[in-house]
Amino acid sequence: MPVINYIEADGTEYSVNVAEGVSLMQGALDNMIDGIIAECGGCCVCCTCHCMIDPAWSDAAGSAAADEAEMLEMVDNTEETSRLACQVKVTSAMEGMVVRLPESQY
């Protein structure tokens, strides 16, 4: 199981195992990581699981689909590597990945 390192806006770090095929969102929820709200539970409709992928892993994470990109456009604090965590499924290439979480999901 790849280790994913979630870092909340206040610097709190969580180093957790997330099974391959599971989304970064579900990995955060299963470990009670507060920075991910996930109102819709992973259907790419609410935009409350915004995260920033460390550039070293942005290839592994791939790029956002059209609807995801449109949702992200409406979020204030996005960065170039911003994704919705529900749309990123963990793979073996993500071992050690660093995922930063925004101060607010609203």
Partner: protein
């Protein structure tokens, strides 16, 4: 907060899971248990009629939290067990297993159940409702050998099921008693869009049509719509709405009226009992009225408030309701509640697969149906909360940015 106290949650739902997590986050040190009449750990309900029925995701992927998460939270479960009575005086729950369970604090997350249709043949095999994971397993089993299905009810559940069964190769007929689909919840424009969408996918839609009997000896052969008009079918799904599960609360003497009555802190009429989710009738300060919602965001956000109340923290609940529906490749996001609208303004081409219907009253936006328009949805939420009169020509003008209507805060 003493660690000898026990918090018990009835119902294995979205609300229940959020509630127990929030209890721990708020410092609850006592025991926590969830009693659910379903045999499964709590799971995501929205994908049931969509990705799960269509076979796109597995049972494992439906889990709301991995089982290890509950161990970390020190939350225990009693699954497949029904609470038959709440004894508020002795703070005891009577279970159908004969066991009794003590509680210091109680949370009712009992949700809702499918509204039954009382017509002949409704108890035949291959007649299904769609509310639980086991319901969907039954539908999948029937669909494996069925060539055709009748869906009774042209609301969101019926239409999502129609889309998923079509994907599975079953020929679908939808029966709707009203003169249009989604009549109770959407504008004519939205209704017309979904009628066209389903017809294009090969679904037969019969409006102004009431099922009078389901035909067959043991298995289903068809549905009679009165006037000797019979539609052949190998399976039937009934989706005519839900009934909130309020009986336990009512029998325990709690105030109930179209849902368990709670205040903005999710407290029932009993000091140590809270309720959250589809089963509650609650006030919403943003809307200026009370309402009962069938919605995941409502369940989870109200559960946070309920957990705070049990920990002695005041966290009033007042969120803008929102909903979504996936059918084929069309994603509908609904912001707000359209009740009381007097006008609609359309942004985009209503004959295309991407437009937004804004519902207005007195030039103020109450709600929006955003069809394949995620950006409009995000902005509509802000515009509704702004609660100001709006220039509808900008709403309707695709060359004008919606953002310009948002007043800086």
């Amino acid at each position: 907060m003493s660690n000898t106290e026990s918090a018990v949650v009835i119902g294995g739902s979205h609300a229940a899971v959020q509630l127990v997590i929030s209890l721990r986050q708020n410092g609850w040190e006592g025991s926590i248990s969830i009693i659910s009449d379903e045999p499964h750990l709590p799971y995501h309900r929205p994908p049931l009629s969509k990705a799960y029925l269509a076979g796109d995701i597995s049972e494992d992927q439906l889990a709301l939290r991995a089982s290890a998460a509950y161990e970390k939270l020190d939350v225990s479960f009693k699954l497949g067990v029904t609470v038959v009575a709440i004894d508020t005086e002795n703070r005891q729950l009577q279970l159908d297993s004969g066991e009794t369970v003590h509680f210091s604090k109680l949370a009712l997350c009992t949700g809702a159940r499918a509204r039954p249709l009382a017509i002949a043949g409704a108890d035949l095999q291959a007649v299904h409702y769609l509310r639980t994971m086991d319901d969907v397993k039954g539908i999948q089993q029937s669909a494996a050998s069925a060539k055709s299905a009748v869906i009774i009810g042209g609301g969101y559940i019926g239409l999502e099921t129609a889309a998923s069964l079509t994907k599975l190769g079953v020929a679908v007929t939808v029966l709707e008693t009203e003169s249009r689909l989604l009549q109770r919840v959407a504008s004519e424009t939205t209704s017309e869009f979904y009628l066209r969408l389903h017809q294009e996918q090969g679904v037969r839609v019969k409006l102004n049509t009431q099922a009078s009997a389901i035909l067959g000896e043991t298995s289903v052969t068809g549905v009679s719509c009165g006037d000797k008009h019979i539609i052949d079918a190998d399976m039937v799904i009934i989706g005519i709405g839900v009934i909130p599960n309020t009986e336990l609360a009512k029998d325990a003497g709690l105030a109930v009226d179209n849902g368990i009555l709670v205040n903005e802190f999710a407290q029932t009429s009993h000091a140590d009992i809270v309720a959250a989710g589809d089963c509650t009738n609650h006030p919403n300060a943003l809307l200026g009225r009370t309402l009962r919602l069938e919605s995941v965001p409502n369940a989870t956000e109200q559960a946070k408030t309920a957990a705070a109340s049990l920990c002695g923290i005041e966290k009033p609940y007042s969120e803008l309701p929102w909903f979504w529906s996936d059918q084929y490749d069309v994603k509908l996001q609904i912001a707000g509640i359209n009740q009381g609208y007097t006008d609609v303004t359309i942004r985009g081409d209503k004959t295309s697969r991407s437009f937004t219907v804004f519902y207005l009253n007195n030039s103020k936006i109450l709600a929006a149906d955003c069809i394949n328009r995620p950006k409009d949805f995000m902005l509509a939420k802000k515009l509704i909360l702004q609660n100001k009169s709006i220039d509808t020509t900008v709403l309707a003008d695709e060359t004008a940015e919606l953002k310009t209507l948002i007043t800086e805060q």
